[in-house]
């Protein structure tokens, strides 16, 4: 049932070499990513809170947008990363891809939760309610459940490998479904409440607001890459530890 046509000697070597190389590479990237995160979030937050004007309609609440919109972008971006990692895990069986997907899922869920929470905080003064069944918010909520499913499935098995591969299949099924879910929810939304809801991020945006938004988005991306690599390194070290424990118990 499987392709055994892999180069027999090369695959062993490849498996061995790549985590070590990865650890070195990730280690040298770490300070840059950490620096980028702190710099971008620092500058971005200053511009968002002090350096940009209040909105003529929304007032000071518009500043929530500088966290909400990048978080929502990241929610989708991280899912895309998970889907790509999942595809490479299933097709090329690269063990690193499984670890990347596993490390990314809780981060994506956190970004999604941040988008939901800030959306809700923004909704209270604007809509007068903590939760509005708005099309976008509803789609993000479903995305959040998808993330929870991925996390739960990854951790539901004795063998970490099986959990990673099962959730890789789920991630790919989710990718096919996301556009359908988005379409159906938007459609359901317009059906039930005719466009009374104002969009949080309008199509036109002033440069004085766009720059802090983009800098914040860059900061979020750096943060994701930084913590994701950290988590992958942790997983690798844990796997190494398990291997050493096995060596110990087997008395060889």
């Amino acid at each position: 049932m499987s392709d055994l046509a892999r180069p027999p000697a090369g695959s062993a070597l490849h498996r061995f070499a790549s985590p070590a190389r990865f650890l070195r590479l990730a280690g040298s990237l770490q300070p840059w990513l950490a620096g980028g995160t702190l710099l971008c979030l620092g500058v971005g937050l200053y511009l968002a809170l002090f350096g940009s004007p209040a909105d003529y309609q929304q007032g000071e609440t518009v500043r929530i947008m500088y966290v909400h919109v990048p978080a929502a972008w990241m929610a989708l971006f991280v899912y895309l990363c998970i889907a790509l990692a999942s595809a490479s895990l299933l097709v090329w069986r690269h063990p690193l891809a499984g670890l990347v997907a596993k490390a990314s899922a809780p981060l994506g869920a956190a970004f999604t939760f941040l988008a939901l929470a800030t959306g809700s905080l923004w909704g209270k003064p604007m809509w007068g309610t903590w939760w509005e069944w708005d099309g976008r918010m509803t789609s993000v909520l479903i995305l959040f459940f998808l993330y929870l499913g991925l996390i739960a499935l990854t951790n539901a098995f004795e063998s970490p490998e099986r959990g990673q591969r099962a959730s890789a299949v789920l991630a790919l099924v989710g990718v096919v479904n996301l556009p359908i879910i988005k379409f159906s929810v938007d459609w359901w939304n317009t059906l039930h409440q005719p466009a009374s809801v104002m969009r949080l991020d309008g199509p036109t945006i002033d440069p004085s607001m766009l720059w802090p938004l983009l800098i914040m988005a860059a900061g979020f991306t750096f943060y994701y890459l930084w913590v994701m690599l950290l988590r992958v390194r942790g997983e690798l070290v844990e796997a190494r530890l398990r291997a050493l424990q096995r060596l110990e118990t087997e008395g060889r």
């Binding site: 499913g149 099986r162 879910i181 459609w187």
Partner: protein, 238 residues
């Protein structure tokens, strides 16, 4: 995995594949019929839950009619979900799954065969008992055919996507909690279009676009469930 199925090339189609697939479907049907308790679970759950809602909401006919499409769809969904967990469980536990994987029958077809039996033993009985449940909510006779058609198009999709989730959670700890969590996001479009179809016909509008969308979802779910379900079962046997 997904790509590997393609690499295998066309399965040696022909009499032996048909024989094998019909043998699988017939055996699973026979198992379902001999374990009648399982067969009744889904229908009973559907009817009992549907009958319970008016107690929570009050017997006001207009209100009941207003929420009937949503209630009937969600209870049908939960009833399907209830029977999904066992879909591959017995085969996984008694070693039948191994023999299924070792047999020349392409696993993708085997998954579709098992989904067919699951639908026949859960979706179809729900569909047949729907007129009874619709009666409880005073659904007008004109809307009933649309509801039945929507369920006929939608419940197979629920079985297909649910089968993928059931295959993925095979052998998992807490499999029973996982299943609703995994299926819920995937089921949202089916419920939306299924309810919209009935709502449209209650409002005197054409339900055709919604029914076509439900048919499109079913058509999309067929290959997704076959490929993903087979991939998941291979993983479960490893």
């Amino acid at each position: 995995m997904v790509s590997r199925a393609r690499e295998q090339g066309p399965p040696q189609a022909g009499p032996s594949v048909t024989t094998a697939l019909s043998a699988l479907v017939r055996r699973d049907l026979r198992l379902a019929l001999r374990q009648r308790g399982d067969l009744l679970t889904a229908v009973l759950f559907f009817l009992l839950t549907a009958a319970l809602f008016p107690f929570g909401i009050g017997p006001e006919p207009n209100l009941l009619l207003r929420i009937a499409p949503g209630i009937l769809w969600v209870t049908a969904l939960l009833a399907v979900l209830l029977s999904l967990e066992r879909l591959f469980l017995a085969d996984g536990e008694d070693g039948s799954l191994d023999l299924l994987l070792v047999s020349p029958l392409p696993l993708e077809l085997a998954v579709l065969g098992k989904v067919l039996v699951h639908w026949l033993s859960s979706g179809l009985p729900i569909l047949l008992s729907t007129p009874l449940a619709a009666l409880l909510y005073g659904l007008p006779a004109e809307a009933l055919p649309v509801l039945l058609l929507a369920l006929a198009l939608g419940t197979p999709t629920l079985s297909l996507l649910g089968a993928t989730a059931a295959a993925l959670t095979l052998g998992a700890r807490r499999g029973g909690v996982l299943l609703p969590l995994l299926t819920m996001p995937l089921y949202v479009p089916v419920v939306i279009f299924g309810v919209a179809a009935v709502d449209a016909s209650l409002a005197g509008l054409s339900a055709r676009p919604h029914l076509l969308l439900l048919a499109a979802l079913l058509a999309a779910a067929l290959p997704v469930a076959a490929l993903a379900g087979a991939a998941a079962l291979r993983q479960a046997a490893e």
